[in-house]
Structures are given as structure tokens and as C-alpha cells.
Amino acid sequence: MVIPAPPGKMGPVPLPAPELLVGQSPPRLDGLDKLLGRARYLDDLTFEGQLWGRTVRSTVAHARIVLIDFDPSYDWSGVTRVTARDIPGENVVQLIDDDQPCLAWDVIRHFDEPVALLACADREKLEEALRHVRVEVEPLPAVLDPAASTQVFKHYRYEREAGRLAEAFARAHRVVEGSYRVRHQEQLYLEPNAVCAVPRADGGILLHGSMQCPFYVQRALKRLLALDDERVAVVQTVTGGGFGGKEEYPSMIACHAALLARAAGRPVKIVYGRGEDLASTTKRHPGVVSHRTAVAADGTLLGGEIDVLFDGGAYSTLSPVVLSRGAIHAPGAYRWPACRVDARAVATNTPPNGAFRGFGAPQTLFAVELHMDRIARELGLDPLDLRRRNALRPGDRTATGQELRESVSALEVLEAVAERSGWASGRAQPKGDGPKRRGLGLSLVLHGAGFTGSGEVKLKARAGVELTPTGCRVLAASTEIGQGTITIFAQLVADALGLPLGAIEVAAPDTSRVPDSGPTVASRTCMVVGGTLEGAARALHRRLAAYAAEVYGGDAERIACVGGTFREGARAIATFEEVARRQLADRGPLVIVEQYSHPPGIEWDDDEFRGDAYPVYAWAATAVEVEVDLDSYETRVLRVVTAQDVGKAIHPLLCVGQIEGGTVQALGYALMEEVVHRDGRVANDRLQSYLIPTALDAPPIETILVENRYPHGPRGAKGVGELPMDGPAPAVAAAVLDATGALVPELPITPDRLRAALKLGAAPTASLGETPLGAAE
């Protein structure tokens, strides 16, 4: 269900062209092909002379490599072999700190780390060959518990009015402390990682693959192979989901395929099985977040100290930026008169953790939200009232000192959910006295839209449009990964040009053909790239209007394309197609590429960790009703009510789809999803034991779209991709607390953990180093 926000709040934004497609939900451009099985994923493509590639992986968490032994008695004919020795450029998967090798050479730092590569035309021979490679090692002591790690990838400390902290704690009515723990979560895209590298006659590489960020892959290949821009092209193939799992990892598998392809002189395809994908690719960072909070008797927050520890795994990969988003979201959607955040990401000998929808925020928001419920309970307050009292309002400053000017909707989403969920009566209802207990819980979150801090400023994302005889072609590196990118791009561009949807094509992301719009991550695609595209489309419109005025006469300023025809007032001048064809014949191709720039006044200080961390925030409140079975300690989610302010829903159906999908993924995070490591190895590397919710586990979800427009987003849009991942888990934990009186400070809330919390009686606390993160139970 979609309930528009009350008028007045929406603040109409003056726009040059009317919204005809924006705000509608036309069929997805990629929908029919996917529905009919016509979409061709990487594994559906066959390349002339193609070989299959496989990865030899470590079977130890930490060791020195003594020898990589290819069994001399085995018949290696027809098998291509590659080790780090064969890398022409640098043995590194380019990202931030560049500490991760493409192939381990001297030291193995985690289980299932790539050590060597094989390729062969016959898949069965390849499997056999794999068993004839032996990696001889000298084991080294492995660090599996992040609390015991001495290697810090990144450490941030930031404060707001820290001088007043001591005073806040001194005059507090209560000081409330709590520690909260979260575990590894797998992205579980339907299509496992897959690429095919095709060697080119010029010594270059053409790489096809399932991915979110073609330019990340291109940069990684250039560095590894010591090639220039011209000789490395990366093309995204139809991608069966990403959720962040295909942000950085495709660079690794692409590097592997490219090395094999160059060695063999033939295309090499690598398609991971589910087991290999689960065991070796990135996961959501596990961590422990501790809060110490000074509160007044009425629940007003006076000051807080927040400590964040993330387990980065064996290499730093994206940990610095995951940590910064986690640290910035750690204080939640609240006013903190004084606050200090101390956040570290450390190394362990486990597979590296990386991007996953929410990117550090779901972890720290779980902690602050459940902590709010702990405070409410200790003070005897209604958790809704506590949130109302402390929620950020327009004009308030966040903990990084950012003044919230536009599109600030904490109270609005909170009140919408309170009402639609029947909060007051729901909380007052008896919990039950039999084996089944009911409870209602709530969360309030914010999510920064776009890259953190100066990310966008450094990136300088570019995107554009190219005139075609019948409309235009969108040129952007943003990938369609099931979330609707190409459909909303077409809607935005069509409305800016006054064209029907069918007149817009979206070019497949190919680094040799499209500008670098940056990665498809961070809820930035619609707001940042969509906005840039809209600007480019408007510029194209201006150019064509000027041209029409020149050719057909009239005042360019007053000429606009409406419904596919250029008009001046009521007078029709020429159809878009006539103008476009004439322009193309007369003046040649017309491509307009624009560069994103932050709206004025957005300032961020990287060193001080202060200022406008994001240009704007999206807001969400979520209520969850659960039923807990005290015989089996199972928690069942009965319903979810959520209100989410996305600025403007360009495509309401896709928007609700993102929210529902994200909510179910977050319920999995709350109740069952957990990658279990044993001695550093993923123990549940199959879907039988890595559990995600099924359709029967998914409750009815009522979504309230709040559209509090952001003046600098396209038609007012902010981001929606990650927001729905943040709120459900703490709301489930709060509902379990309401139902049973047990505060389970750890995700997922498995029956075992709930039972343990109930046996402890009083609200228990997960302490640092109690058991290693990810330890098997």
C-alpha cells in the first residue's frame, strides 16, 4: 500500500517539465526478458574456444607457503596453470589500501584464499586436475577473535561537545550501558559470481561479468596486467542480484579469469558454485558495539559514548569506508548534546568482509536502537515516547555537527508507523500466558544517501545522454542488478525530454562506451546518477529546442517537447523525431555528458570527521509484531509496518519492492542468517545450513511511502536501496523483549540465543571477547 504524505509537507519543487512517467509504475524495461527466460546471464553465454577456470584455495587460516606443487606424475596436457609468478603487473586487487593479493604468494591469510588457477576445456578433467595441486605450508598462529587482534585497519574517533560529556554523566539521572553483537551475513544474490575474460589481439582483455561496478573491475585489471585504458574493456552482463556482494569481489574473479585467458590465449569463464561463493566471497562485517549513555529522568539523552569494533577479515578491502558509515550512523536518528564515537576495524584470519546493503549502518543502528529500548525499559518509559523526545528535527545537528536542513522526517515516519501499527493498543495488549507470547517493537533509523563524506567530490561521477533518431540513449556505468536502475533512468530522462518511455534506450554498461558514473552502491544511483542524467537530458532538450527555433522559427526559450512533439505554446512545430533526424544529419552525433556536483554548502572534513557526512538522509520507522513460542524458543514475525521517506518515489512499485525485499533480508539478519566459522573456515557453505527466510517466513508488510522531497535530488528523490535493511532487526529484538522480557543483545536471535537470554533472567549483555565472533555454538 502506498500512502502519500500529507500535502504541504511535500513542498512542491518547480520543475521545467511535468512529471508524467515519474511517480508512475510502468513495467520494468528488463522485466519481460527475465520473466520469459530470455535474459542471458554470464553462464548462458558461450565464447568461441572457451575454457573453464577454477581456483586452487588455501585449506588453512594462516600459514607461510613453502611450495605450490603441481603433481609431476599427473598429465597436465590441456590444463593451463597460473600462480602469482605469472602476473605481469602488480599482484594486488586494487581497491583502497591495496593490501589484498590476487593470488597468495608468500603468506596465506585466510581459509579459501586463492593460491593458484587452472583452466581446461573439459570441466571434469579440471575438477580432477584441481586435486593434483598441493599447497605445502608452514602453519602460523591464526587470529580469529577480533578482540584479540593487534592489526588495526582503520580507527576513527569523533566527538561532539566532548567537553560536556563528563558533566552529562555527572548529572545524569541514569547511566545505561549495553553491548550488542552482530554476525557475518551473506548477500546471497541468486546468481553466484561469474565472469568470462576474452583475450584480444592487441594484448588487451575484454571482460564480461556479473557485477555492480564495471570501472572498479577495469581499474583492477589495468593494474594487475599493466595495461592502459584502451586495452581493458569491461562489460556488465545481466546480473542476478548483488546487494553489495558484487561491489568489490568481481574484481578478484575478473583478475583470475584474465590471468588464465592471457596464459591460455583463449577465453576463460569462471562461474562459482554456491559452495565456493558462500565460503570465499565477502560478507557483512560482524562486530560489537558498546554504548554508555547518560539520560535524564524524562528520557532526554544527555550524552553518549559509543565504541564500535568491526572484524574486517584478512584484508582491509572496503573496511575503512564500511567503518566510516557504521561510525557515522552509530548515534542513530537522535539528538546528542554531547557524544563520542570510537570506531575500529581490525584484521583477523578469516575471509575479508565487505560491502553489503547498508554498509556498516545496519550493525551500528541495531545497537543504538536496541539500546534505546534498554533505556526505555530501565526508565519505565514507552519506547515510542523515548524516540519522539530525542528524534532529530529540522535545524538539529547530527553527531558530526551536520545541520539538518532539508527533508528531515524522523518524526513523520515515527508517527505514521505508530498510528498504522496500532502501537498504543498493541503494547497494552496482554502478552499471553501460554507457550505463545506476543510482542510489539519499534525502530527509527536514518540512512545517509550517496557516498560518505567527500566520496562524491573525489569521484566526480559522470553520466550522459546521446541523441538517437527517435529519442535518446542513456550512457551510464550504473548497473541494473534487479533493483530497477534502467527503468527509473528511462523515466527520469523521458520526462525531462517530454518523450514516452519507449523512446529511451539504456546502453549496457561497457567501460569503453559509457562514462564513469561511479559504482552502483551506497543508495546513490537514483539520487546522484539519476540527477546527473536528468541534468544532461535537460541540456539536450535545450539544445534541441534551440535547434528547432533556428530551423523552424520561434523563440527557443518558449519551445518545449511535450508528448513527443516540439511546441511553442499551443503551436506544434515538429515532432521530436523530425528534429532529431535533422539535427543528426545536419550536425552529426550529439552526446551530452554531465558531471555530478554536490549541492552548494555541503562541506566535509575528512581529518576531523566533521561536517556534512551526506548531502541528505532518508528516514524510516518500522514496527514489528512477533509471536515467540516458549516451548521451542522460535520467533515468528506476524507483521511489519514501515514508513520510509525516500524523498520521491520515481517508480512507486519498484520502491515498495526494494522496501519489501530489504525488509525480508533484514528479518533474515534478525532471526536466522549467520555465517558460522570453524577454525576460520565457513562451516555452513550451503543453502541447507545457511538459512534465509522462505516465502512462508515472510510476514505481511505494510509499506507507507513518505515523500518529503529533497530539493537537490531528481524530482526530489533521495536513496532507498539500503534504508529498508536498517530498521527491522532492532524492531524484532525490541518485539522479542516486549513479548518475553528478555533482551537478546546479539543477532541473529536464534532459539538457542533466546533460550540463553531467558535463562539468564535479567537483560544480559554480550561482552567483548566472550566468545570469538563467529564461533560455532
Binding site: E124, E127, E128, G275, P435, D631, S632, Y633, E634, R636, M672, V676, A683, N684, R686, Q688, S689, L691, P693, T694, A695, L696, D697, T750, P751, D752, R755, A776, E777
Partner: protein, 286 residues
């Protein structure tokens, strides 16, 4: 290599028996394949598989009928068959209900009772039900047929009493007397596509206010699906009161031997199995 394993698809029981006359080394039977194919994919014991006997086409093993006071379930009866069979729904509603809970629709269409029995997983869902119901299994091969009580069939972890030249043919379940019931509860990992953490099945009834003919069986809490004789002894002839429940629960928690694994801890399994017993017992009497 999977593709190099020879497969014989039998079209009749005699044809299958002909192959079993001299079973090729490493012979494995394939019914619905929902366990076997998963094991192949995970390469579990792949090197030990020398030949596959595919019995999926043996129509004579796919049936549900009633004879001489027995409900007879053919080896190839699928969960879908059991779920939809009017006979099962009327005579043994618990089995129809359980079949609806197994896996999800696709598995229910392909997975068979015989496969569940012969796979002999301690967490196989039908097994405690069959044991509690007092079922016997009819197995057969070129040397003839024999009958084995369900609670004697599972001899050790994933090992059965089946000889290498034998097939499981059918299960035979005595019908419930009017005062008797068969009840169960599965505690899985989620609401579909879920392996049991524990499953408890009870059969019996009350005569003159006292429990009679009680049978208790549990899954997922021992190396084999377990008949819980101590719990049965603690209940037989007793009224369903707090005392009897406590005694039976103590007996049950003493005789099951759960382990800790990815699905749950041993302590959890022990307690929850006891909770299920306490919760289900009144249903026998009422």
C-alpha cells in the same frame, strides 16, 4: 565423475531384482533423488558409488492402500501422495500433515517415503512417526521378502538393516483404535525447506483415564531416529497429570542423546524435546 556412473533404470520389480542378483560394486538405489543428488553435488561418498539403480519408474511401489487393518504405504509414495491421499488424511492425519511440512512443494512431488526411510538420517521427518505408529517395513530382493519392525530398522548412524541386495518395498502401519491418536510436532529451522532440530511423535490413548499403548519416538536427538522406551514406561498406565509428565520428561531427557551442531545446541534440543512431550501428552488423553 558423476557423468561416468552407469545407471540402470528398472521398469519392473523383477528387472530390478535381476540387477540385485549380483549387485555391482558400489550400487546405490535412486528413488526421487532428493537426498542422493544433493549428496552427489556435495561429493559425499562419490568415490564409493559404482552403479545407480533407478527405481523411480516402478509403478508397483507407488501406492497407498489398506489391507487387513493395516495402512500400507509403498516405497515410492511421495510426500505429495501422502499429503493428498484421502485414506491417509482419514486414518492417519498426522502423516498427511507432516508431509505437507516436508521441504516445499517441489520436494513433496519428488521425495519418497522409501527414500526418507533408507536415507536413514536421524533427522528424517517421517521416521519418528513411523516408529511411534508401530510400523513394520517390508523389504525384498532376489532372495525373497522379509519384515522388519521400524524400531529395529535403524541400526546405527545412517545405517539400516537392509542387505545390499534388498529394496525397501513398503511400510505397514497398524490402524489406530478409536481411543488412540498419533500426534507429532516438528521444530525446524524455519517455516519451509527446513531440517528438524527436533521432532517428537506420540501414539496412544487413554482408557479409563489412564494412558495405554503409549509409544514415543524422537528425531534429531540421537544418532538414529529413536524409540524412547523409558519415556513410554514412565507413562504407561498412568493418568496424564503433572507427576506423570514430569517423570516421562525426565526419562525422555535421559534417554535421548542430542549433539550440538549448526542447527542447535544439545541442551536446547534436550529441553525442547521435553517441552514437546509435555505439550503433546494431553492431546493423547483428550
Amino acid at each position: 565423475m558423476i557423468s561416468r556412473i552407469p545407471v540402470t533404470s528398472a521398469r519392473s520389480l523383477p528387472e530390478a531384482y535381476a540387477l540385485l542378483e549380483k549387485p555391482p560394486p558400489g550400487l546405490r538405489v535412486l528413488a526421487g533423488g532428493t537426498d542422493l543428488m544433493v549428496q552427489l553435488q556435495a561429493r559425499v561418498g562419490l568415490e564409493r558409488i559404482g552403479h545407480v539403480l533407478d527405481i523411480w519408474g516402478l509403478r508397483e511401489l507407488r501406492f497407498v492402500d489398506r489391507a487387513e487393518g493395516l495402512l500400507r504405504l509403498g516405497a515410492l509414495a511421495t510426500y505429495g501422495d501422502l499429503r493428498d491421499s484421502p485414506l491417509v488424511r482419514e486414518r492417519l492425519p498426522a502423516l498427511a500433515e507432516l508431509s505437507r511440512e516436508v521441504g516445499a512443494r517441489a520436494i513433496q512431488s519428488r521425495g519418497t517415503l522409501g527414500g526418507n526411510v533408507c536415507n536413514a538420517s536421524p533427522a528424517g521427518d517421517t521416521l519418528p512417526l513411523l516408529i511411534a505408529a508401530g510400523a513394520s517395513f517390508v523389504v525384498g530382493g532376489p532372495r525373497g521378502e522379509r519384515r522388519i519392525a521400524a524400531d529395529q530398522f535403524f541400526v546405527a548412524y545412517r545405517r539400516t538393516a537392509l542387505a545390499p541386495d534388498e529394496l525397501f518395498l513398503r511400510a505397514e502401519l497398524p490402524e489406530l483404535a478409536p481411543h488412540e491418536r498419533l500426534v507429532y510436532r516438528k521444530v525446524g529451522t524455519r517455516r519451509a525447506q527446513s531440517i528438524s532440530r527436533t521432532l517428537l511423535a506420540l501414539r496412544g490413548g487413554a482408557l479409563g483415564g489412564r494412558l495405554a499403548g503409549v509409544r514415543v519416538a524422537a528425531g534429531g536427538v540421537a544418532p538414529v531416529p529413536l524409540r524412547c522406551r523409558l519415556a513410554e514406561a514412565a507413562l504407561e498406565g498412568r493418568p496424564v497429570d503433572a507427576l506423570a509428565v514430569a517423570a516421562a520428561r525426565a526419562a525422555l531427557e535421559g534417554e535421548i542423546r542430542p549433539i550440538s551442531d549448526l542447527r542447535g545446541s544439545a541442551d536446547y534440543r534436550r529441553e525442547v524435546t521435553g517441552n514437546l512431550l509435555a505439550r503433546l501428552l494431553p492431546e493423547l488423553a483428550g
